[in-house]
């Protein structure tokens, strides 16, 4: 549990359902969690338990049918289009199971894209050099400094995921949301990625990671277990 002053992200009574033919599939049934600044939280659950849906709602990629999500005390539902985009681009960094890198861009460009997305043409011209420097630093931190000119399909799964993490960190977000970041990797590579997250956490980064893997989840400081759309354990 988290002190309310230190809370970065919280949600109350979040419900979400999807239409399944004539019926309705309830994925989340009144979920409420609070995440403190600097915490490394793993949301664990079986496939279909609603953990990815919860993460998408927390990151404003999706909206709940019912309930509220607060970021730094502000209700995300009240954000307008511009503020939502700013939230996604600057406050939060996403890491996906399938990396989701753009094949047409090089490793460096994929990382820079996060900064470009938040800059106007003029703004980009003024911050281009510093952005490139930061992207290079991040890639070096991820052990990819030799791969900056490569394209995603020329990298291994672990390398691609590290590029995705570098991209997520590019705008120095307050929160990293990772959706099964090791789900598509072998255990050794997955452990490597977990180590990266642990290092980020020890540097003060807030991380919320969704995983079905108990071993990976155990690497986080706090594990929230989700079963049938409800929190079973925290």
């Amino acid at each position: 549990m988290t002190n309310s002053n230190n809370c970065i992200l919280s949600c109350k009574n979040v419900c979400k359902s999807y239409k399944m033919g004539a019926g309705k599939l309830e994925v989340l049934r009144g979920v409420g969690i609070t995440i403190g600044r600097g915490e490394f939280v793993a949301i664990r659950g079986a496939s279909g338990s609603g953990k990815s849906t919860l993460l998408h709602i927390l990151g404003a990629l999706d909206s709940p049918d019912k309930g509220e999500v607060f970021f730094n005390g502000n209700n995300i539902a009240e954000f307008g289009g511009r503020k939502i985009n700013e939230f996604r681009g600057k406050k939060v960094g996403f890491v996906f199971q399938f990396y989701h890198l753009l094949d047409e861009l090089t490793v460096l460009e994929n990382v820079l894209l996060a900064k470009m997305a938040q800059s106007s043409a003029f703004g980009w011209l003024t911050c281009r050099i510093s952005a490139k420097k930061r992207a290079m630093e991040l890639l070096e931190r991820m052990g990819l400094s030799e791969r900056i000119g490569h394209r995603p399909f020329q990298l291994s799964g672990g390398e691609r995921q590290r590029v995705a993490i570098a991209r997520a960190l590019m705008n120095e977000p307050e929160l990293i949301l990772a959706d099964e970041p090791t789900g598509n990797l072998d255990s050794q590579t997955g452990n490597g990625i977990l180590k990266v997250f642990e290092e980020l956490h020890s540097a003060g980064q807030t991380i919320v990671m969704v995983t079905h893997d108990e071993k990976i989840a155990s690497g986080a400081g706090r594990v929230i277990k989700l079963t049938d759309g409800k929190i079973a354990a925290d």
Binding site: N85, E104, A114
Partner: protein
């Protein structure tokens, strides 16, 4: 900046964009080539008509003609907008060729050579007398009466359409017979028989006006001699038309209207003239109106062609729509990524519209470059096809078309390029708006991949 870098990368690294560029380039190529050739032909034909008839014509369709033409020409010469005017007789006659066994009813055109070469480009149509056009009706034997024939009446052509002109003036002669008409339009009779005036003319040159009908059926005679043959040299001499050339930079329509007003005034002032009744059959018009019957169908064909090319434009829009639909379907994951990075709907629209613009720009550029390369070499290519396979776009033995028009105007190129780019933007608009509305969570969800 992403909205510039991403389209460039998509453009350079996606093979499907090559298809889109190719589709646009083919459409642009087709439009530029066909419009250039068609516009060139129409322009060439109208220019030849203008050259042949001058700027304005005062004419009657009656073979009787009208009188007081010299007085009216004097009036015209007093104005500041008429550069020259030339009386003309248009008639028909029986022409017996004395160098073969042929005889034919042909159009006879009587011209006052000195005034006619100032009013029209007749001088430039001559072959042997091109350097001294005022001697056009002077045959080898200067004591004889000369005539100029339409080039197709006396000169053979190669299959490529080049006239085989002799190095000397051939000694052809023609017996030309006319049936004179009274001012009332009746055939002049001697006793109970029809009167007929005949005279032998000797070939002095041929005229290549570029107007197929003229070049294959007209024999030019000295004005006064044809006037005599047609019985139009009575006390009140008559002509069939007056060709008028205006001074440089004159507005032809405005000046033609002035000539028409002058003619009305002139006929009113001379209503007591013995042959004043003939004035009623006289019309005044600028050259384009006068030749409307032949020019209008060509212009109509050109308009039809433009309408057909609008359909080509619609097809381009549809092709781009399909290709962009495919691109966006394949890129739905990327759109989800962009949105997860905080790129707005308008940002996504900008990315794909910039891509469409690049497709339009490159497609237009390639299409125009290939079209210009093709047009520059079109005549050479046709020559080669003719030499190898006997293929010609137009049979030059039949059509009065020299070379294939190949000068594409800058205006046409700009219009086509801009239209192609607009077509690309329109074609890409619907799929792009669809892309902008995609919910990133829908396309990024694992079970959707």
């Amino acid at each position: 900046m992403y909205d510039i870098i991403l389209p460039i990368r998509f453009f350079l690294r996606r093979r499907i964009t090559i298809l889109a560029v190719l589709a646009v380039a083919i459409c642009v190529f087709t439009v530029v080539v066909v419009m250039t050739v068609m516009t060139g032909l129409v322009k060439d034909y109208t220019q030849k008509n203008h050259d042949f008839y001058g700027d304005c014509i005062v004419w009657t369709d009656s073979l009787v003609g009208f009188g007081m033409y010299e007085e009216f020409i004097d009036e015209l010469q007093k104005t500041d907008f008429v550069a020259s005017a030339s009386p003309v007789i248009n008639s028909f006659g029986l022409v017996q060729m004395n160098f073969g066994d042929g005889s034919a009813a042909l159009t006879l055109m009587g011209i006052d050579i000195k005034r006619h070469i100032k009013t029209t480009n007749f001088a430039q149509t001559l072959y042997y007398r091109a350097a001294a056009p005022e001697l056009a009706f002077v045959p080898e034997d200067e004591n004889l009466s000369g005539c100029v024939t339409g080039v197709d009446l006396t000169t053979e052509r190669t299959k490529r359409g080049t006239y085989i002109q002799k190095t000397y003036v051939p000694s052809y002669s023609y017996t030309i017979t006319c049936f004179p008409l009274t001012p009332k339009g009746a055939i002049v009779k001697t006793g109970t028989a029809m009167a007929a005036n005949s005279k032998i003319f000797h070939y002095s040159d041929n005229s290549n006006s570029g107007l197929a009908k003229v070049d294959s059926s007209v024999v030019y005679l000295p004005f006064e001699q044809l006037q005599k043959l047609c019985g139009m040299d009575t006390t009140a001499k008559r002509a069939g038309a007056i060709f008028i050339k205006f001074t440089k930079n004159s507005n032809i329509t405005v000046c033609s209207a002035k000539v028409a007003a002058m003619w009305r005034q002139f006929t009113a002032d001379n209503s007591n003239f013995a042959l004043a009744d003939l004035f009623k059959n006289v019309s005044v018009a600028d050259w384009k109106t006068y030749r409307r019957d032949t020019i209008a169908p060509m212009e109509k064909e050109q308009i039809m062609l433009i309408l057909l090319f609008l359909l080509v434009g619609l097809i381009t829009v549809f092709i781009i729509f399909v290709i962009f639909y495919m691109i966006i379907s394949r890129k739905s994951k990327d759109i989800g990524i962009l949105k997860s990075l905080g790129i707005s709907q308008t940002g996504v629209v900008r990315v794909f519209l910039h891509l469409a613009f690049m497709v339009g720009l490159c497609g237009s550029a390639f299409g125009i470059v290939f079209a210009l390369a093709f047009l520059v070499n079109a005549n050479r290519l046709e020559g080669w096809l003719f030499a190898q396979f006997g293929f010609q776009l137009w049979n030059r033995e039949i059509y009065a078309i020299g070379e294939i028009p190949h000068n594409a105007g800058a205006f046409l190129l700009i219009i086509v390029a801009v239209s192609a780019m607009v077509a690309c933007l329109l074609g890409a608009l619907v799929p792009t708006l669809g892309a902008a509305k995609m919910k990133c969570v829908d396309v990024l969800r694992v079970n959707k991949l």
